[in-house]
Symmetry: C2
Subunit: 319 residues, 2 copies
């Protein structure tokens, strides 16, 4: 039996989500009403996930719900912002209650962890598409941006790179891995860990930051262009998980550089802030991979100083 | 030749749009940064338009761009908020430059009039879907809401009702009208006039407000439920344009009550605020159609006091 738009909203999305004090009026009117704390700027990001484009067609609705929010929280993390609220535009072919229950559960799970309120939404009939917009708070003049990297700054990434790409290759049957490794890389693909705690900790320390959605090569490239600088990175320094040990090293580097979907942070830190960096981030949570240089362009170097060119560019959303 | 996501954003959406002082960082980073003026709340609304569901498949991209923003501005109008900024999530099958140029033109035209900035977006590959989120400013405690109507309050609507429904019937060849009338009703369908000026003027005067997207019957129904009241409206008082004179009166009433897509405001005003109302709105811009009553339910009455039941309910977005 079809359920109406209003029932969907009431049944699945109005209850239980974190209720922040800044939300003066939530779901249920023509618009939500919010207050922004004094001295704060609002950071606003929006991302759309389309079935068959951003996630494989058989992805569980739990994972779709989780990932739709995760990719947006990752954008807030890259700005050093604290998650505050989100809106959801959900287009799906028909209101299947089992699917919706799963979607809500995945979305709710991450929303609770991030303490982010759901303040509004629109549910429409059509091909499966999920758009989430998030807003976060960041003290005036403290946001991290893509511009700001200077020659001599260290280049860092959080976590490990390439796992999500290997997860996709596994799902697409391009490669066979031991079951526990399969499970790990699929989890990294479907349930990325947006680094909003790290992003906030880097305020006042990092000179630039971006989240790695399209692959390190493409996203670090955005920092370089926005900052008017270049960089060299050492492939031997790329943080690779145990899973990437199961594939040839060249393949692992390609995944780490260009497969995307990692949702780790890439950031730069001036030499004089290195000690501060060590104080705010746990040693095993980030890795130095290279140095900002004045010569434009990105150079990926092997241990013997050879240039390595990744086989594919980061994902371009218009295919 | 395919154009990439980044080129789309740069070529079509980054330039010329109004640049408000509150936008500290616009398109081009992981998130935009905005400042909210002191003493203001932020009103946030989101709406999705899907091809074949919210607009006929042959609708021009200019009209899609215009209407996608208009329906969102209408939500801000219903809260009494001043438009400030928007984000755009555009999913389309392939980046057809002619289509995109038209879409941008329609969107830009209304954005310029509303002085609203475009601060971010996401462009993805998939079936045509447009999601816009808007944010507006409203002084603390001054927002109009659905709740607040009291027995004795007058019920008012802006503009005329049912034109958009007649426009859709015309496009679907359900009815043939003289060409100038066809043109008018199609324009009312494709280019609604969101009433943000009227909404702002009604702050402190209206006891409740909503925008008419699903039809007067459904939307006034939301006010009644949120306010815990009922209402009677006089069908003879419904503001109908000259166009609706071309169809039988019963059909006109049905369109006015339940066809939706009008994007006029429905609002209630306590008797003691009627003089204030007359001062802030031009006499020909709004019409009193009935009165709030304590008995629950909505009664639509003919001139001889008979109950009229509209044939269809307002549009339900899950079909």
């Amino acid at each position: 039996m079809p359920i109406s738009e209003f029932e969907v909203i009431t049944n699945y999305f109005q209850q239980d989500f974190p209720q922040r004090a800044e939300i003066n009026l939530g779901i249920g009117d023509d618009a939500a009403l919010c207050t922004i704390p004094t001295g704060m700027q609002l950071a606003v990001a929006i991302d759309t996930l389309v079935e068959g484009v951003h996630f494989p067609i058989k992805t569980s609705s739990q994972d779709i719900g989780y990932k739709s929010l995760a990719v947006n929280l990752s954008d807030l993390a890259a700005m050093g912002a604290t998650p505050a609220w989100m809106t959801l535009a959900l287009t799906c072919p028909q209101p299947d209650e089992t699917w919706l229950r799963g979607f809500r559960q995945g979305l709710f799970e991450l929303a609770k962890t991030a303490e982010i309120s759901l303040i509004g939404g629109d549910t429409t009939c059509g091909p499966l598409t999920v758009t989430i917009q998030v807003a976060g708070f960041v003290p005036q003049h403290c946001a991290l941006q893509r511009r700001g990297a200077q020659p001599g700054d260290g280049i860092y990434v959080t976590g490990t790179l390439g796992d999500a790409g290997l997860g996709l290759a596994t799902i697409q049957n391009q490669i066979t891995l031991p079951l526990p490794i399969q499970k790990f890389v699929k989890l990294r693909l479907n349930r990325p860990s947006p680094r909003w705690h790290e992003g906030q900790a880097l305020r006042g320390i990092a000179s630039s930051a971006i989240d790695i959605s399209d692959g390190l090569q493409a996203d670090l490239g955005h920092i370089l262009i926005a900052s008017g600088v270049g960089a060299s990175i050492q492939l031997a320094s790329l943080p690779l998980s145990e899973a990437l040990g199961y594939i040839p090293l060249n393949y692992a580097w390609n995944l780490a550089l260009s497969a995307g979907d990692d949702y780790e942070l890439c950031f730069t830190v001036p030499p004089q802030q290195e000690i501060a960096l060590q104080k705010v981030l746990a040693p095993d949570s980030y890795t130095r991979i290279g140095t900002i240089e004045s010569t434009a362009g990105l150079r990926c170097l092997t241990a013997d100083g050879q240039l390595f060119v990744a086989k594919q560019l980061g994902y371009q959303h218009f295919c």
